[in-house]
């Protein structure tokens, strides 16, 4: 019973992802594109929850859906009028885009479907507890991630300074 519910939720989430990601790149109103992007990000967080990475799902919701989409909406409202439609795409450009997307997708899907992943079963390890994740994030041994963590913090500081420098009025 629980498996059936899991499968139904999976297909709902993947339908949301496929439909909304295609709408996000084809919608001519940019604010709607940002809203479809929000739905895609929420459904991705749903995937993470379904794969038992609950911490990652929470991070996805807070940073992507909470932070980035709000930034997008602010920037869109600052730079375009409400209800403004973008110009029609010329057919040659659409043709090149479709060619790139469809040929790339066909190549990738062919490779993925013919490749045999060795233990492609869901390993019922369940969720990692938060304590183990915290120790791995802060440790200095093998398979522990203190250095990238500190590099990210320096990157964020650089981003704050750079954002202020670029966007301030002169």
């Amino acid at each position: 019973m629980e498996q059936v519910a899991g499968q139904i939720i999976f297909f709902l989430l993947s339908a949301v992802i496929v439909i909304c990601s295609i709408l996000a790149v084809t919608s001519r109103r940019i604010l709607r594109a940002a809203t479809y992007l929000l739905f895609v990000l929420f459904a991705t967080a749903g995937f993470y929850f379904q794969l038992d990475y609950h911490f990652l799902g929470a991070v996805q919701i807070t940073i992507y859906a909470g932070g980035i989409v709000v930034l997008f909406v602010f920037a869109i409202l600052l730079t375009s009028k409400l209800g403004e439609k973008s110009d029609k795409i010329s057919s040659t450009k659409r043709g090149w885009g479709l060619l790139a997307a469809i040929s790339g997708a066909a190549l990738c899907l062919y490779t993925l479907c013919t490749h045999d992943f060795f233990p492609s079963q869901y390993a019922a390890g369940g969720e990692w507890d938060m304590k183990a994740i915290g120790h791995m994030l802060m440790g200095m041994d093998k398979y522990q991630y203190l250095l990238p963590f500190e590099a990210i913090s320096v990157l964020l500081l650089a981003c704050i300074i750079g954002g202020i420098m670029i966007a301030r009025k002169r």
Binding site: A24, V25, Y53, Y64, F74, G97, A123, L155, G162
Partner: protein, 103 residues
């Protein structure tokens, strides 16, 4: 949880190439950035799914995704600052109008 791994990978492939299509065809800089976010997100799904299905005893894909989300947030903030600066200078954010510094 009897969902094969290939289903997740197919969904993320479709999402990635929707992003590629938008990146090629869009003219608005913010729309290009939205397509970029779609591509980054598809790659994140791949990392997590491969981590869970192929190497469930380790957390490499998990941490890659965590750091990729952080870097994507930083990159988006800087990109939006640049776009707003461009808008302030030329009152437009269409890519075909951005040829001031080209020659």
């Amino acid at each position: 949880m009897e969902i094969p791994m290939i289903y997740y990978v197919v969904v993320s492939t479709i999402m990635f190439f929707a992003g590629v299509y938008g990146f090629v065809t869009r003219k608005n800089l913010l729309a290009i950035l939205i397509s970029l976010e779609l591509m980054l997100n598809a790659v994140d799904i791949n990392f997590v799914v491969f981590n869970r299905y192929l190497f469930p005893g380790q957390l490499e894909g998990f941490f890659f995704t965590l750091f990729a989300v952080a870097i994507a947030a930083a990159e988006t903030a800087i990109a939006i600052a640049i776009i707003i600066n461009i808008y302030r200078n030329i009152k437009n954010i269409k890519v075909d109008n951005l040829d001031k510094m080209k020659y």
